[in-house]
């Protein structure tokens, strides 16, 4: 589904990604871990098409076609979803209005008519139940005055509505208490199918108890320096990153 080859990216002259190689197939869950400043969030932004990054080399293929030249919204229309580490506030725009616009713009890109209001409302209700979201949430201004947990839950709510092929969850666990973490993880697991894939970016092993990855990658200094299965995450939890860094620098 997603194939990244030798991806190098920089921002304002600083090299952040120095040669990423990553292949994600449908039905898989990949975890990307790594110390602060290793390039995790940059990688997710670059996949989503954020234009302030300069791509110096490499390629990103999605479902067999090169997406490097596509705008962020075109990538979204193709089924790439990024759950933000810090979701953005838009005052005066209700959650429901934002979702309606988002969903209908995606449908328009696929040549579909806007979703009838009744169907949309029904779908929202179903997904709200999945994420244990209370009534009244839909009419609040997007992310304004939301708690950390509400913001993250809202991200996963949108993901549930848009039904992406590839979901990238950037530090979705940060700012969540244990109950909220379980609800969010539960939602993500229920949305998983053999046709979609998930990339989980996290600092901590904790989230991976709930969203169990097929593969774990360690990002350091803009490169994936080690890949393994979920046991690797446990090892990191126990021993930290130092031994991997030493191993990587020794190469």
């Amino acid at each position: 589904m997603l194939e990244i080859k030798d991806l190098k990216a920089s921002i304002e002259g600083n090299k952040i990604l120095t040669g990423i190689n990553l292949k994600v197939n449908a039905g898989e869950v990949h975890a990307i871990m790594g110390p602060n400043g290793s390039g995790k969030s940059t990688l997710s932004s670059v996949i989503a098409g954020r234009e302030e990054y300069e791509i110096e080399d490499g390629s990103i293929d999605f479902n067999g076609s090169d997406i490097m030249a596509l705008s962020p919204e075109e990538r979204s229309h193709k089924g790439i979803f990024l759950s933000f580490q810090y979701p953005i506030e838009i005052p005066g725009v209700s959650v429901s209005n934002f979702l309606k616009t988002s969903l209908n713009e995606s449908r328009k890109a696929q040549g579909l008519e806007p979703m009838p209001a009744g169907d949309l409302l029904k779908m929202m209700r179903e997904k709200m139940e999945l994420l244990e979201i209370k009534k009244g949430f839909l009419s609040r201004s997007l992310n304004q005055g939301f708690s950390g947990g509400e913001k993250k839950r809202n991200e996963i709510f949108q993901m549930a509505m848009l039904e992406p092929k590839l979901a990238i969850l950037d530090e979705t666990d940060s700012g969540l208490d244990i109950d909220a973490l379980r609800i969010v993880a539960n939602g993500v697991n229920k949305l998983k199918s053999k046709d979609n894939a998930t990339i989980v970016i996290t600092h901590y092993q904790r989230l991976l108890d709930y969203i169990v990855p097929d593969y774990v990658h360690v990002l350091y200094d803009g490169k994936i320096v080690k890949s393994g299965t979920k046991e690797l995450a446990l090892e990191l939890e126990e021993n930290g990153y130092d031994w991997i860094i030493k191993e990587a620098e020794g190469k």
């Binding site: 302030e52 953005i88 838009i90 988002s102 848009l162």
Partner: protein, 480 residues
Amino acid sequence: MTEEDKILEEVTGAEYKYGFTTDVESDTIPKGLNEDVIRLISKKKEEPQWLLEHRLKAFESWKKMEEPDWANIKYKKPNYQDIIYYAAPKQKKELKSLDELDPEMKKTFDKLGISLDEQKKLAGVAVDFVMDSVSVATSFKDKLGELGIIFCSISEAVKEHPELVKKYLGTVVPTTDNFFSALNSAVFTDGSFCYIPKGVRCPMELSTYFRINQAGTGQFERTLVIADEGSYVSYLEGCTAPMRDENQLHAAVVELIAMNDAEIKYSTVQNWYPGDANGVGGVFNFVTKRGLCHKRSKISWTQVETGSAVTWKYPSCILKGDDSIGEFYSVAVTNNYQQADTGTKMIHLGKNSKSTIISKGICAGKSEGSYRGLVKIQKSAENARNFSQCDSLLMGDKCGSHTFPYIEVKNKSAKIEHEATTSKIGEDQIFYCNQRGIGTEEAIALIVNGYCKDVLNQLPMEFAVEAQKLLAISLEGSVG
């Protein structure tokens, strides 16, 4: 160049949609202003003597006045001898129905999206249409007449209802009030008149469209709305003009009178030609709007200001009666080289009088937007209340936004609250929307409409939709 700048460049190039001219024969008088011109206007309009005297008196005061320069705007002062003060589309007199309209004029309606018939059927909106100096069409008059509501051009009102016009004209905005209102009082050519009788709730929106067509003309319309005791009316005006290299002058006066227990809702969607991307041309919009509130009455001004090269406008309320209410809801957009100095005055005289001010400024391009507001609590205004909120939204870093709030309190029981914020549409917000499949233009429209929601909610439904579209067009892409 950052992404922000690129988007900004792209977007500030949005074209003005109403820049066409209508090719109808026009009856104009030579340009320039003197007593003879005023006499000629009065004669062409077959006016009674008292009105001519009213005009001449205003002209005498105007000659002694200086053009104000305290506003935060810079423009080349018009040469008042270089303006045509009367231009009327020539057409058959006394239209029985809109079908008799000049076909060119009908095309104008269509281009403006007014479609009088449509509106009649769908929205039940009565429309008065003023092109250059005269009113050319008023719809729905008969139906309103059954309720005793008078809705017609002010020229017609002078002929048909002279007692009402004479009683109220100039009572809220005296001829000597300011430079532009004095000018208007001397040379006004048309505008709308509306009277709602006691206890009548006007069953439909009343609407006037103003259009400057003829080159070299100024538009000086005069609007007078009187809501008698216990009545209610919702009134809307829209304005457009052709694209011209020269600056055209628009100096209107609007007077509202709300008698005891009456309510007037006055909404404006102002979209005069703003000039081109380099700041050439555009309308100078120097307008005096004021309402007088008697006991327990309410006047609510709502304005969406997207057009004009220069705007100088402060719709105000004199809260004379006890328990009266004044409201001002404003969205003012400036882009490219536009300048706006707008706001309101709430003058509290009555006990327990209340006022609310919500002002939302949006500045893009190299424009300058200012909010200027006065809240004045007089000694007699026991327990007066005011709440003001003035927000500014900036797009890019070449525009300027300013706030000049003035507060004068002479009664200690007053409670006044003032809140102000300044924010920017950020790349982060745009990227967030983009990531959810919403393109940049759409994203801006969404964010701006969200920001203006409190004001747009005050507009009648069908105009709120129109205003939303207008905001999107005015700001196409102008984000950072």
